[in-house]
């Protein structure tokens, strides 16, 4: 009888801890039921700027691009972007540059598109700083 009570207590504690882990990690049935789809949980996993950069990279089918210092100085945006856009690579001196709106150093480049908090430039033949 005592053993049974102990087991019930342990099971309850295990279940409560599992529920707490699920809540802290943002568990959602929506993600679970879409777990095997290609674009699942992107919104929940990535900062908005990284998602916007990825959208521009995908729209123009870039093979590689340069991130401006305004982004590379922010490790969250830099690392999330590098991870998520792979196999597209982030490297210095690429033809296309992703910068913040109004960021200095890209006057000589042509703007391709301005997104939400992100500008895509082409600096063909002019290089990028």
């Amino acid at each position: 009888m005592k053993n049974r009570k102990t087991n019930i207590l342990l099971i309850t504690l295990c279940l409560l801890t599992l529920v707490a882990i699920g809540r802290d990690k943002g568990f959602s049935p929506g993600i679970l039921f879409a777990a095997f789809l290609p674009d699942t949980a992107i919104r929940e996993s990535l900062p908005p700027l990284a998602r916007e950069i990825t959208r521009l990279v995908g729209k123009y089918s870039l093979k590689d691009f340069t991130l401006s210092p305004g982004f590379t100085n922010d490790p969250v945006v830099l690392q999330r972007t590098v991870e998520f856009v792979y196999p597209v690579r982030v490297r210095s001196g690429a033809e296309f540059v992703v910068a913040k709106p109004g960021e200095a150093g890209y006057l000589a480049c042509d703007m391709v598109e301005e997104g939400a908090g992100v500008v895509l430039y082409t600096c063909k033949g002019q290089g990028s700083s």
Partner: protein, 408 residues
Amino acid sequence: MTEQRPLPDRYLLRWSIVLGFVLLGNYLFWAFGAPAITKIGLVTVLLGLVGIFLLGRPGQYLPLKLFFIGGVVLALGSPTDGWDARSIWLFHGKRMFFDGSLYAQLDGYAPWSHNDYPTFVPALSASFALCLGYWNEVVPKVAGVFVMLPALCLLTAFLSGQRQILGLILMLLFLGRNFLFSGWMDPLLAVYGTALVASFYLLTKGGSREKIDQSEHVLLVAAMAMVAAILCLVKNEGIFIILAVNIAFLPAYIMSRVSIGRSVCLAGAAALLPLVGWELVCAKYGIHSDLSQDTLPLGFILSTRSWHDVLEIARCVFFQLEFAVPLILYLYLARQGKNNPLSGFLLMTALIYSLMVFAVYLVTPHDLAWHLKTSVDRTIIPVGLMIGYGCVMMMGRGSSAPKVLRSD
């Protein structure tokens, strides 16, 4: 007092060995550049075996099976937002998936992702993605839960009764918490480290001259080799745990003059081969650990580290909840007279490993406050689980500890 050596449940021991070697096979397939179809085939075999394990012996090992299913559900139903989980482990898996090579990360791209780290779990993530046909944000993360299963089977094999298994699961949930099913390697390191300590102790009988059954010996040697091989391929710290186990065994070795045994030595050496292979390839590509590149000379550190730094490291390492709670529970159970040699060996290894963790923070080239803040609650998980497993062993001593071999 005669030692009551817990004897393993052979059914779980065999499952642990089979699943562990399938996982090692997946890694070796990647290491030797096997075609994608063979990796997909092996993952199919793995899924089939796990299915058979979950459905086999209904009603038995229920806490273990439900823990695994719960882990898979949580991993599939939550986003991957942990820093190391994304920037290191899943990123390496993604690189392997797109480049089709275990060595994709050795080109030096994105050096902040620690390109020297071993790729055992990323290899399984990449294989899962191969089965799926594309990379997504949640499915590759489940690899960690699958890798945990063989070591959990081994730890459970040494326990008897649902209460002990529930105790182990609760301890793991308490210690691993948010790192458990979200792509981090530290809980895996803890589970494999503890499994290694337990299997090594039972093989060497803690230095006693007691003979063990030959067939049990063969199974334990295979299990220990599998656990050691995976442990040092999960994360670099695995090698420190192996070192801590050997140091903890030294007193028994010196006092009892009992040799570890040729088969154990050979299996241990063979288990290190995959890691040696990985390190050689890293050296060939000029990829080194940030610690080995930047670690300050010892004399310089001693001159720059203040007593305040040392006390701060000690406070963060030894006064973590993950360390203190299992230790207090251990001392309470020991005071009740429930101590046993295996629990003592686990405690000894845990304390030695915690000193190693302390030493790593002492020589860190990173900002100390930042390094402690971002990692100490993870790095201490193996210490907590080793002590916690010792507590679980004490919970079952006497009434439930098996005295004879349990066979299937």
